[in-house]
């Protein structure tokens, strides 16, 4: 089959002879991929920032497809079903899955206890090949995959596998109260969705901070929020304090993670010298910009080692920090409802549709923000 093949930092290629995946467990399904996105967090892998990212692996944790084959223990799916597949690989029965923490499954990732299994996201997340391929093995097929509801646009469906639930959960974890001021750091797909979803929780004011003008323009349209460029400010923390009467935001959301711009010290130590698990600039700003007793919600991805953040301010300001990988399965019923009712239209953020064969160009374009790229989608020939 044709599949994306990681060769090293900033190098991927199309492998035309990758063996088709096999059913390796009674609860497996084999899915023919119909759409597969490149996620902002795939860029952390692409840039070589996630430990145990092995040459030869296929990335991709946002995909839809058609079930081709199922294992002997699969009861809810059958060949021909069109499914959207959450990025979490979850057993559905461990103590964490039982409590709907599907992103923290205890039976899907041998290599690390700190994160559940994720498709195509290094061996630190379980060593599963991902969906930037013609076919993909889907473990625990009765738990994660959801049949795509009739009438749903496939491009909305594929964005329900990660972007939409992650953005929604970012807002949900913020515990937003009616009238709250919510600041979202990062106008990438997750930040855009977090800003958009903040309104669903009754926010009174939503502000998004980034440094790319085309993304800020997009944010104003897509998320109907205020959008500011931190390159135009002396200090974004002071700016945010001034715009909230010196109080600070009620809720701050870090939707950037380990590749944040804006601080020379963080960039040098986190991204160039790898002395910390990426640059924690957005998180630093979030902690310092939120009000006393406020809430910081983290969905930006960081590596597993350590980061320089002002933890003393967390204590002294009485900040509550809430963070997790999105629990896609838990959120899907609500989000499907929002999409079908027209309250959310995730596919509006797709800017580029490319054949799977152009995966190297797609990664380069997304990584270097060419052609005002917001969200690229790969389409396999067999789709």
């Amino acid at each position: 089959m044709i599949a994306m093949n990681y060769r090293g930092p900033f190098r991927v290629r199309v492998d035309r002879n990758k063996p088709d995946p096999e059913i390796l467990h009674p609860y497996d399904a084999m899915v023919r991929v119909t759409r597969s996105c490149i996620c902002g967090s795939d860029l952390h892998l692409y840039h070589g920032l996630v430990p145990d990212t092995r040459v030869g692996m296929t990335f991709g944790h946002e995909f839809t497809g058609v079930v081709e084959e199922v294992g002997t223990g699969v009861e809810k799916l059958k060949p021909g079903d069109q499914v959207l597949v959450p990025f979490n690989i979850a057993c559905g029965s461990c103590a964490f899955c039982q409590q709907e923490l599907y992103g923290n499954c205890h039976e899907s990732n041998s290599q690390a206890t700190a994160v559940g299994g994720i498709f195509g996201y290094s061996h630190t997340a379980g060593g599963y090949d991902g969906g930037q391929a013609e076919y993909v093995r889907v473990p625990y097929a009765d738990v994660g995959p959801m049949k795509i509801p009739e009438g749903m646009d496939i491009e909305d469906a594929v964005l329900l596998t990660d972007v939409t639930p992650t953005g929604y959960q970012a807002a949900e974890m913020g515990g937003i109260k009616r009238g709250d001021t919510v600041v979202v750091f990062g106008a990438g797909p997750i930040g855009l969705m977090a800003a958009r979803c903040s309104w669903l929780f009754g926010a009174g004011r939503v502000i998004i901070i980034d440094h790319l003008e085309y993304r800020l323009d997009f944010a104003r349209r897509f998320a109907k929020c205020e959008a500011y460029n931190f390159r135009s400010m002396d200090d974004p923390v002071v700016f945010l304090k001034k715009t909230t009467d010196g109080f600070g935001a009620d809720v701050c959301i870090d939707a950037v993670g380990c590749e944040a711009e804006g601080s020379t010290m963080q960039t040098l130590t986190g991204r160039k010298l790898l002395l910390q698990a990426g640059s924690a600039t957005a998180l630093q700003w979030a902690i310092n910009s939120v009000k006393k007793g406020g809430i910081v919600s983290i969905v930006g991805v960081y590596g597993p080692t350590w980061n320089l953040v002002p933890i003393g301010n967390v204590l002294n300001k009485g900040i509550t920090i809430r963070a997790n990988q999105a629990s896609v399965k838990r959120l899907l019923p609500k989000l499907v409802d929002h999409v079908m009712a027209g309250r959310l239209k995730p596919s509006e953020m797709i800017t580029h549709r490319l054949p799977l064969e152009e995966v190297a160009e797609a990664y380069h374009m997304f990584s270097t923000k060419l052609d005002n790229c917001i969200k690229p989608v790969l389409i396999p020939n067999a789709a």
Binding site: R54, T58, Y140, T368
Partner: protein
Amino acid sequence: MKDMEPTVKITGLDRRIAEAEKDIPGWGIDADPENEPTYPMKRYTGADHERLNYERAPQQRTDVEVLHSIERPGVTRVFGVSAPPSGLSGMLRRYAFRFSEGSSAHWMTLILADRVNVVEGVLDDLRHGHIPNIFAEKGWKAEWRYNRSGAIRKALITVAVASAAVYLLTRSRRVGRIEGVH
């Protein structure tokens, strides 16, 4: 030295409630079921206290080498089989997995293994008669398509820097040879 093993292992409730109620004055008196800051992310059921006593899926057959964190007893019921450890990078990865996830030795060794693995990937390509097309793998066609002037500028700068480096190197060798003659 052998690792110290925990002397107390409780697999059910962390504290035997009946005993605690008897032994500790005021035990549980301020418990507030509403104080559940993880909701709605987590729908607390108390399953945590049951630890590993849940219905587990059948074990996937282990046909390839799968490393597992020393913070857990073994491999998970299901696991990925992509790119098993091999070669020098594989040796480094095996070494890394002797340390816990809280250890820098674990993660830094894995990052080192990743970089070694890149070199192994190139050598493997060459061994199979495939010369990696770095230009294509880096997706520079997109740069040409969407940022042509920038691509030309980058190419010119690269050529200029490379030419200057070659000139300086050859010049210093020439100077060295001339000085050697004198």
